[in-house]
């Protein structure tokens, strides 16, 4: 218990140290001497060290199963394998905040060294430390080391003598005899999260979120330093790094949803997905406008705005998904973290927006005015339009995701937008973005001559028209906008390949940009083929009977139990000579009281065959219903009237019960079927195996079979209250479904060319890496130049 208290204290130390670092760095910047720099550096190091050691303690508590801590109890258990046990670190709100801030603090260490070489240290680190301090405040407010008897005092704290043999207890106040029990086992990780994606995806995503703070800090630092130009070169490698890591995290999440969660696709426009997409879009937009500024000096303000917005979007997204404002409108369950976190997140957004935009406003007048000289046919203009379109996509996604907030203000009833909203608004923008990402690469800076442009356009245009016609002929027609999107994506692919090839022949190091565009283009083509040209069918598969669907022959061959709660449903898939078995699983989790479904798929080179389980209907048994009746009461069950007459609890049975021997209790019911009255005796025996309910069958005049069974006995106490009985009735089979075997309902789909999505992702990431290397080198050369001067 002591160790947690100390760790909670160290969190406060980390907070104070981060605040001190922000203050000292700020003084260094104001005084323009490095008198306090040592203190500033030391404070930042202390903050990082404290935070990391707190995280280490937290991990230790999880690994050693210290269930007296609410967090450890809430998310972990003894049966988890080590990687998953470690991942429970960030399965809840506090832990995931801690992981995120830990990454933030470590990235800050690199940033410190990097910025000091670029003579940016005091400014950027004062902003960055302030961010860290604000974030840490959330851990100070929401203590991850809360003890379980503080969370549930009524259930766990007791007074008086401690029963012998009890091991899991702690004495709170020896003088007054107050003590508390604590659990011996944890509640365990949410079954939905129990797979290997949980180990990797959040890690990548949170490092991406952390990285987004750097361009913000550098932008504010640039404003502080009145450096409106070269900060861009300092910041670009970080923006590209952030975009790469966050982008990877987003796609990993998409693959998780596709492969194990069974959402049917890799992107569902869910708030949690959207909220990581928004900062990514803004960051990518800023990378493009930064490129223009480096070339022509234009877009000074735009670059500040976009770099700062990307970070503020991270904060806003966190607010949306963590504060509980979205409530029931998403499939993700959002736990309400309490008023404190709600207001802290809001004020965090406000503070950093005011600092950033306030400073920008104050410095606006003295910024150099760069006259825009480029023409319509220039790379600058294409880049500007592209970045503009990206920012618009971000805006539409923000509005869509915030819909529950907007509608609850406007209409008083929160509702989410449908997925069609995102597609309709973003499709035209996607067309523009892909087209520009192809065209921009073919254009010159400032102005392109029509003749030379035409010559370069020729090949990509011909090829992409060919590709679009091929898609139209072989995969079928679609609405015009989709075909246009196909054309533009193909155009982007071919022109970037053409340009990339030229660059690669000259200097392979510079090929990153083209390669990233090639990746995006392939990704978009994959989106179109797998989401638009997919085939879907909900099929009911009766066991052993082949069903033809989507050109495949599906046969449900039976189920196999994997463990207590989990079943695999084997479906044989045949097409021509190919014969494969897929085994989607269903799992009723008693822990979350819900059914979890996991799809299975066959990955062919040119398509996926995807089978998602929907439900299992065991039609061999009728539907079961339960009734509660008071003594003398009656219920209408189908054509029957059933009356509860009373319990039969003989003195012998009572004596047997008191002596701990086996006994029988029965409830006497009467079924009235038309004019015929039949007594029904529902028995419960109690023996060494616990209570057993013996079902009683009843056949009605029409031959329909009913099966009754006792469920619960509520005897009247001393005749003061009436006795009640709860029983279940299995109703007769419906004629239509009678004599049918078990039916498995699945949603099957064919997703053509989905491998393009994964291929595009890898290409995009490689492109990002090459760009980071190039831009970091460029930034190094620039600082070398400064040192020489």
């Amino acid at each position: 218990m002591v160790i947690g208290t100390i760790a909670a204290l160290i969190v406060k130390v980390a907070f104070c140290a981060a605040l001190a670092a922000a203050f000292f760095y700020y003084r260094v910047y104001r005084e323009e001497t490095s008198r306090l720099l040592v203190f500033a550096k030391a404070s930042y190091h202390l903050a990082t060290l404290s935070l990391l050691s707190t995280a280490a303690v937290f991990l230790y508590l999880i690994l050693t199963h210290q269930f007296q801590y609410t967090y450890v109890w809430s998310y972990s258990s003894r049966d988890l394998p080590l990687p998953l046990l470690i991942s429970t670190f960030y399965a809840g709100q506090e832990g995931s905040f801690m992981l995120w801030w830990a990454y933030t603090s470590v990235i800050g260490m690199f940033l410190m060294r990097y910025a000091s070489r670029k003579e940016y240290e005091p400014e950027v680190m004062s902003v960055y430390s302030l961010i860290l301090a604000f974030l840490l405040l959330m851990l100070v407010v929401k203590n991850p080391f809360a003890l379980i008897w503080e969370t549930y005092p009524d259930d766990l704290i007791q007074a008086g003598p401690i029963p012998g043999g009890l091991t899991n207890f702690v004495v709170l106040d020896a003088a007054r005899g107050v003590w508390a029990r604590f659990p011996a086992e944890g509640r365990g990780l949410n079954p939905l999260l129990r797979n290997y994606w949980m180990v990797i995806h959040p890690q990548v995503l949170f490092s991406g979120f952390s990285a987004m703070a750097v361009p913000y800090a550098l932008a504010v630092a640039g404003l502080l330093k009145r450096d409106y130009k070269s900060w861009i070169r300092v910041a670009t490698p970080w923006s590209v790094f952030g975009a790469m890591v966050l982008g990877t995290g987003i796609i990993l999440g998409g693959y998780w949803a596709y492969e194990t969660l069974g959402w049917g696709g890799f992107w569902g426009w869910d708030p949690v997905e959207n909220s990581s997409l928004i900062p990514w879009l803004l960051c990518v937009a800023s990378i493009h406008t930064a490129l223009t500024q480096r070339k022509s000096g234009a877009f000074v303000k735009t670059n500040f705005i976009l770099s700062m917005l990307a970070f503020i979007a991270v904060l806003y997204s966190t607010f949306l998904t963590r504060s509980g404002v979205l409530g029931d409108t998403s499939v993700h369950s959002f736990v309400d973290p309490g008023m404190w976190i709600y207001w802290l997140l809001l004020s965090c957004i406000a503070v950093f927006a005011v600092i950033g935009f306030g400073l920008l406003f104050a410095r606006m007048r003295e910024m150099p005015k760069i006259p825009v000289e480029h023409s319509f046919v220039s790379r600058e203009f294409a880049l500007f339009l592209g970045a503009f379109a990206l920012a618009f996509v971000a805006l539409f996604v923000v509005i869509g995701t915030s819909s529950p907030i907007i509608t609850s203000i406007l209409k008083g009833q929160a509702s989410a937008v449908e997925v069609s909203y995102y597609i309709k608004t973003n499709l035209p923008l996607g067309i523009a973005i892909t087209f520009l990402s192809g065209l921009g690469q073919l254009l010159w800076w400032r102005h392109s001559r029509t003749g030379s442009l035409m010559r370069k356009l020729l090949l990509p245009l011909v090829l992409s028209i060919g590709a679009t016609v091929a898609v139209f002929l072989f995969m079928g027609s679609e609405e015009l906008l989709i075909l246009l999107f196909t054309f533009c994506s193909a155009f982007s692919l071919f022109s970037n390949l053409q340009v990339g090839y030229g660059i690669f022949m000259g200097n392979p190091k510079f090929v990153g940009g083209s390669l990233a565009h090639v990746g995006v283009a392939i990704l978009c083509l994959g989106f179109i083929t797998s989401e638009r040209y997919d085939d879907k069918a909900t099929v009911a598969l009766e066991r052993g009977k082949p069903v033809e669907a989507l050109g495949y022959k599906l046969t449900y061959v039976g189920h196999a139990q994997i463990d207590n709660e989990r079943y695999a449903f084997n479906v044989e898939i045949r097409r021509g000579d190919v014969r494969r078995i897929v085994s989607p699983t269903m799992h009723f989790s008693s822990q979350t009281n819900s059914t979890l479904r996991h799809p299975d798929l066959i990955n062919f080179i040119n398509r996926d065959f995807y089978v998602s389980p929907v439900s299992i209907e065991s039609s061999s048994e009728g539907e079961q219903k339960s009734y509660t009746l008071e003594q003398g009461g009656k219920a209408e069950i189908a054509q029957l009237t059933v009356r509860f007459l009373g319990f039969d609890f003989s003195p012998e049975a009572r004596a047997a019960m008191l002596e701990g021997k086996d006994f029988v209790i029965s409830a006497n019911l009467e079924a009235v079927d038309g004019r015929k009255r039949t007594p029904l005796t529902l028995k419960m025996t109690n023996g060494t195996n616990g209570p057993q309910f013996i079902p009683e069958k009843f056949t009605a005049a029409g031959g329909e079979m009913f099966e009754f069974a006792l469920a619960r006995i509520m005897p009247g106490e001393n005749g003061q209250t009436t006795a009640k009985v709860e029983f279940t009735v299995r109703l007769p089979l419906d004629e239509k479904t009678q004599k049918r075997d078990e039916i498995l309902v699945v949603e099957a789909s064919v997703k053509p060319m989905i491998n393009l999505v994964w291929m595009g992702t890898v290409t995009l990431i490689v492109g990002f890496v090459l760009t980071i290397v190039r831009r970091a080198e460029e930034a190094r050369l620039q600082s070398d130049r400064w040192t020489r001067e």
Binding site: F67, N190, T407, Y421, K424, T425, T538, S594
Partner: protein
């Protein structure tokens, strides 16, 4: 320069109109059954499953049929395209999205709202003691 501003302004205006129209269109309105029947639009109706009337699955047409009582206490037959929604039996309330056809509510989507979010409760503490 001037033409650029005009072109840009038009593009922005189109974008905003496009966004606003789509936003309003895709925010399916909440109504009760009576309102849904009158408007004939795609709406969402909140209510609860009438357990006594049961629920059935039509495997031939892949339709799930149940009866739902809306907030105004009107009971209506709901025909859902697809199978039984997740956690249907446990749901405290359900929201059906769809429209009225011939006295039945044809739903394309049924969302279930469950009381059990993955949160610790004092009962769950007692279970693990």
């Amino acid at each position: 320069m001037k033409t650029k501003i005009i072109v840009g302004g038009i593009v922005v205006a189109i974008g905003i109109i496009l966004g606003a129209v789509n936003f309003l269109e895709s925010n399916v309105e909440y109504m009760d059954f009576t309102g849904a029947e009158q408007s004939q639009k795609r709406v969402q109706v909140k209510g609860e499953w009438v357990q006594e009337k049961g629920a059935s699955f039509d495997a031939d047409n892949v339709k799930f049929i149940f009866f739902m009582k809306d907030d105004a206490n009107r009971v209506c037959k709901v025909v859902l395209d697809g199978a039984k929604p997740n956690n249907f039996e446990l749901a405290t309330s359900v929201v059906a999205k769809g429209k009225f056809v011939n006295g039945e509510f044809h739903a394309t989507e049924v969302l279930t709202k469950c009381p059990s979010k993955y949160e610790g409760t004092s009962e769950s503490v007692k279970k693990t003691l």
